[in-house]
């Protein structure tokens, strides 16, 4: 089924949390956020769930939900906003979110991503690793072998 709308939802306050508590607090916060999104997707009303006809991309402090149409995108976003309020007492600090809904035509995702093309047509998006996420306890950046392999294959395919 075609996807014609996308909802972007940002979790606010993560940058400040990074300054205050470093990677540990950020990691815990992002886990709370992703847990909320994943948990609530299992509780969508059937008119929004539509037998799984949507795609969710969790990217750190943001979630992108690619939907069949604008009604589904608005409905799922509203559901997540409401549930973020209801979760106030269950998380370390309240969730403050911001969101937008726009049309979707296989365009780039807004953050840290590169296009995936096939036969000259933009068909997808690849998440781009950030150095901070790849730095181990010694401070060295370690690129996962499969990421390198994936990027090389994509570059050779698109050239």
């Amino acid at each position: 089924m075609a996807r014609r709308a996308i909802a972007h939802i940002d979790l606010l306050g993560v940058r400040k949390l990074w300054k205050e508590g470093g990677a540990v607090r950020v990691r815990d916060r992002l886990r709370e956020f992703s847990d909320l999104v994943i948990e609530q997707l299992a509780h969508l009303p059937s008119d929004l769930r539509r037998d799984g006809e949507y795609t969710v991309i969790l990217q750190g402090d943001s979630a992108s939900i690619i939907c069949q149409d604008v009604s589904q995108a608005i409905g799922i976003s509203s559901h997540l906003f409401v549930q973020a309020f209801y979760a106030t007492d269950r998380v370390s600090r309240p969730f403050w979110l911001r969101g937008s809904v726009s049309d979707w035509h296989n365009q780039y995702l807004p953050t840290n991503s590169d296009p995936v093309t096939a036969n000259g047509i933009h068909v997808g998006t690849q998440y781009t690793f950030e150095d901070d996420f790849l730095r181990d306890c010694t401070g060295e950046i370690r690129i996962p072998w499969n990421a390198v392999d994936c990027r090389e294959r994509l570059c050779s395919a698109s050239s």
């Binding site: 940002d10 149409d69 608005i74 906003f81 409401v82 106030t88 969101g99 809904v101």
Partner: protein
């Protein structure tokens, strides 16, 4: 916590988004522009009133909002977010009052609704006596979510 959508793109969802609570004399539009709120430049946008699905839900969420607002006073950044969200709840309160009174509001062009007849704009209800009062509105409206991150 604002959910923004471009007006023309939202049009297919507009009709199904109307709500009529028990004591309303006209529908509440859940996709609407809010006069006192800023929108991204270069387009026409509106807000999704994500908190108004039912009257019971709105009342419950308002209580949670009040609790969250009080708890975040120690953190200026979080207080700005809470203030902006609180202003949105106040704005919705004004819209609810207008729906109970049967009063219309006029939005910017681009989003078609069945009835747009009077010159009352979103936010004017406070001047006519919103039931919850509006003493906090100007103070709460200072925050802008676009500046937060």
């Amino acid at each position: 916590m604002r959910l923004i959508v471009e007006r023309g793109f939202a049009q297919p969802a507009v009709e199904g988004s109307h709500r009529r609570w028990e004591d309303f004399t006209r529908d509440l539009r859940c996709i609407t522009s809010l006069e006192e709120f800023e929108y991204p430049p270069g387009g026409t946008y509106c807000d999704v009133l994500w908190m108004v699905d039912t009257e019971e839900r709105f009342k419950h969420l308002k209580q949670i909002m009040a609790s969250r607002f009080k708890k975040c006073t120690a953190d200026p950044d979080e207080f700005a977010q809470a203030g902006w969200t609180r202003a949105m709840f106040d704005q919705v309160d004004s819209l609810v009052w207008m729906c109970r009174q049967g009063r219309e509001w006029v939005e910017m062009p681009g989003l078609s609704h069945e009835e747009e007849t009077s010159d009352h704009r979103v936010g004017d209800a406070s001047e006519s006596g919103s039931e919850d009062g509006d003493s906090d509105k100007e103070q709460a409206a200072d925050g802008n979510p676009s500046d937060a991150e």
